[in-house]
Amino acid sequence: MNLTLKIWRQKDSNAKGQMVDYKVTDISEHMSFLEMMDVLNEQLVNSGEEPVAFDHDCREGICGMCSMYINGEAHGPDRGVTTCQLHMRMFNDGDTITIEPFRAAAFPVIKDLVVDRTAFERIQQAGGYISVNTSGNTQDANAIPISKHAADEAMDAATCIGCGACVATCKNSSAMLFVGAKVSQYALLPQGQVEAVDRVQNMVAQMDLEGFGNCTNTGACEVECPKGISLDNIARMNRELMKAAIK
């Protein structure tokens, strides 16, 4: 298929960017969105132009590096997938596709479609861990009884890959789905209890410090999240913070 692409180009973090039109031809519907971008970049390199910078790593939907706001949605129109898992069959011949970086004041553009998501790392460092010694004396996992329900919910929360689609799609640029998931994966397990109070307080404080917005429960994040992280995790984080405030 033949497509028109409207892509955000920005030289570096200080430059003023703009949307630029490109044409790509003979795109197979079996290609992933990133492969289509590769075709475009090959074309640009061959004609001596600067290729479009975009983030990617695993290309199998598990690392969370690929981003892109495609036709007004984070990771494009498909559900439960990252951009690397988005296929061109979701589009039609002759389509115009708008491609923008993930937008949020806390995610500044580094170049073109690449944004700085290290704010997420700083939130993780503020409390997204448990302090246990894992060097050689690891305990048997089954030694601590955990209910099936709690284990499942913790596992679901832990599938968050930190891609930032929740922030990008949120009208408030709120990071609460991400932080909710990271708080929940420990809050649900016995191992997470020891540091529970500090964890939620420090992670929320860091989230606020990074300049993410306030959740107004629109639910857009849950719909656009490639891993289907549930809004229940935000409610749990709110509960954890309330509990921490009176402890």
Binding site: P77, E100, P108, K171, G211, A235, N238, I246
Partner: protein, 237 residues
């Protein structure tokens, strides 16, 4: 003794820290919203009596207007609640605008969220405009009569004045029209707000079918009730 006092104090200090956090503000927002939603039920219950009994409406209005508990305990809390809710609404909106950064060239909000959830500030502003109008219509004249002129009798021309004063107001079709627009927007505000408030309080109940249905019912019945009352008195008197 000293110890408990100190621990109470540190707890209060911790709580102020809590209410300064993004989530604490949301909890405060939801608490004020719950109070407002409770108030709307009472307000509608009183007003609805005007559809079938002029006397009952007058009695209830007089009680609400003169009972010291209502006047000096509930009323200040209510006014504080309203002011707090919309001031906090503006604060949240401004903070969220700042968090957004550069706007998207193309954003498909309808793909993942409802119009109501994305336009709480708009529906809120219309409700605020209504509240101002409503205060000019009813509240300021009441305060003037009762506390400035000192007439606590609630009487005029040998009978209770409340029913007649209300009917008088609904003669004007422009006012009735404005009320209807405001109540439709209130319904849209509540269609998202009712369940949203549960989520803000850390409860997942708002995401279950029962409360979603209840929220839908509440956000239709309450505004519709007020609309029916305004139309009834407009066309009946």
């Amino acid at each position: 003794m000293v110890l408990t006092f100190a621990s109470v104090l540190t707890n209060i200090l911790k709580m102020t820290g809590f209410f300064k956090s993004s989530i604490g503000r949301k909890v405060a927002m939801a608490l004020s919203a719950f109070f407002l939603m409770f108030f709307l039920i009472i307000h509608l219950a009183v007003n609805i009596t005007s559809l079938f009994s002029e006397d009952l409406f007058n009695e209830l209005s007089h009680f609400m207007g003169t009972n010291p508990l209502v006047q000096f305990a509930l009323q200040p809390v209510l006014i504080f609640g309203v002011v707090f809710h919309f001031v906090m609404g503006f604060v949240l909106e401004l903070k969220n605008k700042k968090a957004q950064g550069v706007a998207y060239a193309k954003n498909n909000g309808a793909a993942n969220s409802t119009w109501m959830s994305r336009n709480m500030i708009l529906s809120g502003l219309v409700i605020l405009a209504f509240i101002v109008l409503h205060f000019i219509d009813f509240w300021f004249p009441e305060i003037n009569t009762k506390y400035i002129q000192g007439d606590m009798s609630g009487m005029h021309d040998g009978g209770f004045r409340y029913f007649h004063e209300m009917v008088e107001k609904f003669h004007n079709p422009v006012r009735v029209g404005a009320y209807i627009v405001a109540f439709v927007l209130l319904g849209l505000h509540l269609a998202h707000g009712f369940t949203s408030a549960f989520q803000s309080m850390g409860s997942t109940a708002g995401r279950k079918e029962t409360l979603q249905k209840l929220g839908k019912a509440y956000s239709i019945i309450i505004p519709l009730g007020f609309i029916i009352i305004a139309l009834f008195h407009h066309f009946n008197h």
